[in-house]
């Protein structure tokens, strides 16, 4: 039988995939994709815990996470477009200005 821990393990695997993406990629757009992956992993965990405890609070938090993700994407893509207009690239190595 599929229990709570199954869902949490899947959520943790997906979260670590997103985290590896954030640490590994150098393109800003791919960093945004990896962030979406991490947010979705958190949503799965919230929905699973909400189901396990027969409680609606987890689902409420998942709704607010989705709202935050939507606004983050709207603002972030605007910033990406401005950066691309200014520098012509989305690579983090090209954008790094503060070299130590």
């Amino acid at each position: 039988m599929i229990g709570l821990s199954h869902y949490l393990i899947v959520s943790a695997i997906i979260f670590s995939i997103g985290l590896i993406g954030v640490l590994r990629r150098r393109n800003l757009l791919m960093l945004f994709f990896a962030t979406e992956v991490m947010l979705n992993a958190a949503n799965i965990a919230f929905a699973a815990i909400s189901h396990a405890y027969n409680d609606l609070t987890g689902q409420m938090f998942a709704f607010f996470i989705i709202a935050i993700a939507a606004s983050e994407v709207a603002v972030g893509l605007g910033i990406l477009i401005v950066l691309y207009k200014k520098y012509g690239s989305l690579n983090l190595d090209d954008l790094a200005k503060m070299k130590g």
Partner: protein, 195 residues
């Protein structure tokens, strides 16, 4: 039985698609697999009985966010493969695995404590959408309104950031014509050595 098959199918497909998202060189492949993974995650929500959350996931993530990404993709050169200098992948994988372990411990810590009680219990006779509506518009009304204001602010910010100088092309450099300097012939150009 049905739940087990669905769970393993969804989890294997989701993990595979998200791995493609994270590892792929091509932006289009990454975006497509991300959208497919979002659809399968809404399948998780349907299994878990969170019907309304699954529908919201489908509409907001697959409908809105992916459309936003694909519109933004038109600004960037998406067909070109990205050449990235990736950081040391062994270190990255070790860090990711370690933090996943910390995450599992974090999740399992409060679950096995005895003191957790349902704050807003579900009603099995009412549907999930009705339940969500009742809780969202009574207990979570203020966060709901704040989230609405936040979405409005984000929309205005996105329009202002992306809409500025919309008439200029991004790929062709039109400003290069203005920067050609015309030097008169009899003018002596002094080049200073920089040491």
């Amino acid at each position: 039985m049905y739940e087990i098959v669905a769970f393993y199918l969804f989890s294997v497909l989701t993990i595979g698609l998200f791995l493609v998202t994270v590892m792929s060189e091509n932006v289009l492949y990454a975006m497509t697999s991300l959208a497919a993974g979002m659809v399968l995650i809404s399948g998780f929500f349907f299994i878990l009985g969170a019907d309304f959350l699954g529908v919201v996931q489908l509409i907001v993530y697959v409908g809105a966010i992916m459309a936003l990404y694909s519109f933004a993709m038109m600004f960037f050169d998406a067909t070109r493969d990205m050449k990235e200098k990736n950081t040391n992948s062994l270190l990255v994988f070790a860090l990711g695995g370690l933090s996943a372990l910390v995450l599992v411990l974090m999740f399992t810590g409060p679950i096995y404590s005895e003191h957790i009680q349902a704050l807003y219990p579900m009603h099995p006779d009412a549907g999930n959408a009705q339940d969500v509506g009742m809780v969202l518009f009574t207990k979570y009304l203020v966060p709901f309104e704040v989230a609405a204001v936040m979405l409005l602010v984000a929309m205005i910010a996105g329009i202002i950031l992306a809409g500025k100088k919309m008439d200029e092309s991004l790929t062709e450099d039109t400003s290069i014509d203005d920067e050609i300097m015309i030097i008169p012939e009899d003018e002596v150009i002094i080049v200073k050595d920089k040491k």
